[in-house]
């Protein structure tokens, strides 16, 4: 027994050296990535890429941050707390208009998820019947597209800003509301209303198929960390690809992240969300490659922005979109 002790000591020392070597090797270039909302399946691809080590394999370290009620993602970008963020196209363009020098380095979603929802029991079966009705709309943004659509159709409604729940709609405080197909719409279903009891008007059906989630960073970051951003985008797309092929795993990862953030977890809802988000990423009838922003979408978004905010973008497509994909 006594003879064993020196060997054991030597082994421990050796392992320690090996481990520290590993630690040195793990000092990869780090990117802080901020999402625009709390953890949910909308971001499954990023979580999966992180969990499966796709970022590390690509040679970058990625830290995922979530905004709080008090600090918005754009602020995190501006203040340098985040290197890049996930953001909706129109909101990002509006921010750039207002002087935040950001560029789009990858477009994840290719379609609009926005819909108007009304109860059939209220007698609303056609978009035009929203005229004069109380319509709930997100207080926190995404209002440009639905508002532009109704303006174009000359449908005057009483817009009621709502926070993040569908309760006002459920309680009949409003006649209709805007929802994301992957989120609020399913919440309504999960609150006991049946799909056949609802009238649904997707803005995409009315020519407003403006893509939403994309990846943004400051122009300076783009110029300084181009290689890392490229790796990030590749690994992210790989993560989404893996999530699409391993949905149960992806949902597990999402639910785990939600639990860590002390959020209510509901597998059924997250599964719905993942399905819908993945659908939105497919090109569908658009001629666009995964991860890329289409110029016509950029122009459409600019047009809407011009109508709504009376400030058309003062920059061109190439100033806004920097493709990192060959």
């Amino acid at each position: 027994m006594n003879n064993c002790v020196p060997y054991l000591q030597k082994t421990v020392v050796l392992i320690s050296i090996l481990l520290s070597a590993n630690l040195i090797q793990a000092q990869l270039p780090k990117l802080v990535f901020a999402l625009q909302w709390m953890p949910q399946a909308q971001f499954a691809g990023y979580y999966v890429a992180q969990e499966k080590g796709f970022y590390k394999d690509a040679g970058i370290e990625v830290e995922i941050e979530h905004p709080s009620a008090y600090i918005k993602a754009t602020e995190m970008l501006a203040s340098g707390k985040a290197d890049l963020i996930s953001f909706s196209l129109i909101t990002a363009m509006a921010a750039k208009n207002q002087g935040l020098d950001i560029v789009n380095i990858g477009q994840i979603s290719q379609h609009s998820a926005i819909m108007f929802v009304a109860k059939k029991s209220k007698g609303i079966t056609d978009l035009s019947q929203l005229k004069g009705k109380k319509v709930g709309i997100w207080k926190s943004g995404f209002d440009e597209v639905p508002k532009a659509l109704l303006a174009e159709k000359n449908i005057q409604v009483e817009w009621i800003p709502v926070s993040s729940t569908v309760n006002l709609f459920m309680m009949d405080g409003i006649d209709a509301m805007t929802v994301m197909v992957y989120n609020e719409y399913n919440q309504i279903i999960n609150n006991g209303l049946n799909e056949d009891e609802l009238s649904v008007f997707a803005v995409a059906k009315y020519g407003y198929d403006v893509p939403e989630d994309g990846l943004y960073c400051l122009k300076s970051t783009y110029e300084n960390k181009k290689l890392q951003l490229e790796k990030f985008l590749q690994a992210t797309l790989k993560g989404w690809d893996f999530a699409a092929n391993n949905k149960e795993y992806a949902i597990d990862v999402v639910l785990n992240r939600m639990k860590l953030a002390h959020l209510p977890t509901n597998r059924v809802h997250q599964a719905w969300m993942l399905d819908k988000v993945l659908e939105l990423m497919k090109p569908g009838d658009k001629n666009v490659a995964a991860g890329k922003l289409k110029e016509s979408d950029f122009l459409k978004a600019g047009e809407i922005l011009g109508q709504r905010n009376k400030t058309r973008p003062v920059y061109g497509f190439s100033d806004f979109y920097k493709s990192l994909l060959k």
Binding site: S163, I189, N190, N191, N194, N266
Partner: protein, 642 residues
């Protein structure tokens, strides 16, 4: 075959009857108990649900009063805005259930207070803190607790939520809108709220236990699980997501009924991972918050106690029947034990041991009677056997005498055939079969004067010894009379005279006597009431003699008998018989008859006397077919040879 005891028979029947009785009783009992349990459970479940609803309402209902009163006070301008915070603090101090409270005003309600004005007091540990709500990041106007009552103009219990600041406590907020007069119009001015902690809910809800695994759960207005034994579900799942996850549309249907505040008690139209069998559910809406309580329990547990009782009952029945069998066997064996001894005794008595000891019977019942009967039988048998021995001895003696008498009687009549080997003109064959040891029939033949063949046949009235004696007398008289006379009429008349004398027993004899002249073939005969013989001509015709007018001999002393003559040709035959032949009876009381008799003769006209008689004998035996011979049978055939 296996021997079966009396007790086995009784036990089998008693057991079958008892088992049947138990089965019927048990079925009826089971049916009624099952229904009773179902009904009782239904009542219990309804009571339980109502009781739970009441317990929750006892907290929620009084809590509603506070903001409602505050709203009224605000409407009547009872409260000055600088006294709001102290006022709210006093509310918290006086209401332990209330966790926080705010009075939130519409934007820019007070010209000097800015956009937001919402004094808020809340508990923090044991102290009560205060703050003002509303800033750029918390625009309370858009919060559900503010916006929903405002838009719906109605008080509102919020969907439960976890309090972010206060240690993960499940909370709910009750909001009451208030209005003030502005430019003469009642205008919406803000919201009064109270925050209620829901940690007491868990205690109330988890105290609802029904059977082994039955439980209660609580749904919010949106169907979100507020309380459930499965902690994972609480605030994470709604009844609709659980329904979707488990693919149970029936659960969704019930969920929709529940959030509408409906009440029901039904067999749940869905399956649960928790319990695979049939489930029952009762649900009730909470009047205040419009939440809904559901109580659910498995069908099989409802009857679990019944199943236990059933097992016990079956066990008891089996045990009871076993005991019943055991004691019945014991009792019957004890009661019937003497029977076996009686059986042994009977066997010994049957074997001739009349002095056998009978089993001792102490009871005064049927067994005693049997004993007495056996004892009587033993005595009677004993006496009978003694008598029987004497009788048998006497009978044997008589039988022996009768046997001798028969030998003597049979020796009286000729029985060696052919009787006259040196007299070729005539061939004779005859038989006499007595029905008893000795009989009353007779036949005889002999030759008178060397060329006259005398023959006779007779039948004495009655049978047995008297008849045989009368026959013997008749035969002896015939022989002695015919020594001096050759005329049949004279012989018969003389015989009649002799027999009639001193005939006190009034016996008589039918009698036929013929004398055949062997040289001429002339037959002279006299028939005293006897069956007419049959003449069989050589050429094959057979006819009966005409019926006689004369009465049997032995009846009237002075009766004169005549005689008739018949010419026989060579080759002719005469067949004589007694009524034992044509009146032979079979089991159906059917007589052999003259027709049968003539038929046999016609079929055997050329047969020898011996053969003819044997044929007739066979025909009679075949007709009688083993039936007891009731009368003597006598036949005689005489053949007049060439």
């Amino acid at each position: 075959m296996k021997k079966r005891t009396l007790s086995a028979h009784i036990i089998r029947n008693v057991l079958l009857f008892c088992a049947g009785l138990f089965l019927v009783t048990f079925s009826i009992y089971y049916y009624f108990i099952r229904n009773t349990i179902k009904e009782t459970t239904r009542e219990n479940a309804i009571f339980l649900a109502d009781n739970t609803v009441n317990r929750i309402e006892q907290v929620l209902s009084p809590a509603e009063k506070v903001p409602e009163i505050v709203a009224k006070m605000l409407e009547s301008s009872f409260l000055a805005n600088d006294s709001l915070l102290p006022f709210l603090k006093s509310i918290l101090q006086n209401n332990k259930n209330i966790y926080g409270s705010t009075i939130a005003f519409e934007p820019d309600f007070f010209a000097d207070k800015g956009l937001y004005y919402a004094p808020y007091v809340f508990r923090k540990g044991n102290s009560i803190c205060s703050t003002m709500l509303g800033n750029q990041d918390y625009e309370y106007f858009w919060m559900d607790w503010y916006q929903i009552p405002k838009m719906t103009n109605a008080s509102y219990w919020s969907e439960p939520y976890y309090d972010e600041g206060g240690g993960n406590i499940l909370m709910t907020t009750y909001s009451v809108p208030f209005y003030t007069m502005k430019e003469g119009k009642r205008t919406f001015s803000g919201i009064v709220t109270i925050d209620i902690s829901l940690d007491w809910l868990t205690e109330i809800m988890s105290s609802v236990k029904i059977f082994k695994t039955g439980y209660a759960f609580l749904l919010s207005r949106n169907g979100v699980i507020i309380s459930h034994p499965k902690k994972d579900y609480v605030m994470n799942q709604s009844i609709f997501t659980i329904a979707k996850e488990n693919n149970q549309p029936g659960m969704r249907t019930i969920g929709r009924e529940m959030i509408l505040g409906k009440s029901n008690f039904i067999s749940a139209d869905f399956k649960s991972k928790w319990h695979s069998g049939k489930l029952w559910i009762i649900y009730r809406g909470l009047p205040s918050s419009h939440w809904s309580i559901g109580v659910i329990y498995p069908d099989n547990e409802m009857f679990a106690s019944l199943h236990k009782i059933n097992i016990l009952l079956v066990f008891l029945i089996i045990a009871g029947l076993s005991l019943l069998s055991f004691f019945t066997v014991k009792i019957i064996n004890k009661l019937t034990a003497p029977l076996k001894k009686f059986a042994d005794s009977a066997r010994l008595i049957a074997a001739g041991n009349f002095d056998v000891q009978l089993p001792e019977i102490k009871t005064e019942d049927e067994m005693k009677e049997l004993h007495n009967s056996f004892s009587f039988m033993q005595k009677e048998l004993s006496e009978y056997i003694v008598n029987l021995k004497d009788t048998t001895a006497a009978k044997e003696k008589i039988e022996s005498e009768l046997r001798i008498a028969r030998e003597i009687q049979m020796a009286m009549i000729p029985h060696i055939f052919p009787p006259f080997p040196d007299l070729p003109q005539v061939d004779v064959f005859a038989i006499l079969k007595s029905a008893k040891e000795v009989g009353g029939d007779l036949y005889d033949f002999f030759v008178i004067d060397g060329n006259k063949f005398c023959f006779a046949i007779g039948d004495v009235s009655g049978k047995g010894v008297p008849a045989s004696l009368f026959m013997a007398v008749t035969r002896t008289l015939v022989r002695s009379i015919s020594d001096k006379e050759v005329s049949p009429a004279v012989i018969v008349s003389t015989l009649n005279k002799s027999l009639s004398l001193n005939n006190e027993s009034s016996m008589f004899v039918t009698f036929f006597l013929g004398v055949l002249n062997l040289e001429t073939g002339e037959l002279r005969y006299s028939n005293a009431g006897h069956n007419p013989p049959v003449i069989i001509r050589k050429e094959g015709t057979a006819v009966m003699f005409e019926k006689t007018k004369f009465i049997p001999v032995g009846l009237f002393e002075d009766f004169e008998y005549g005689e008739l003559t018949l010419q026989l040709g060579h080759g002719d035959k005469i067949f004589l018989y007694t009524d034992g032949v044509n009146e032979a009876e079979n089991a159906d009381n059917k007589l052999f008859g003259d027709d049968n008799l003539m038929g046999i003769i016609s079929g055997n006209v050329n047969a020898s006397p011996r053969d003819l008689i044997h044929k007739m004998e066979e025909a009679v035996a075949s007709h009688v077919d083993g039936y007891t011979q009731s009368d003597d049978i006598t036949m005689m055939t005489i053949f007049f040879n060439e």
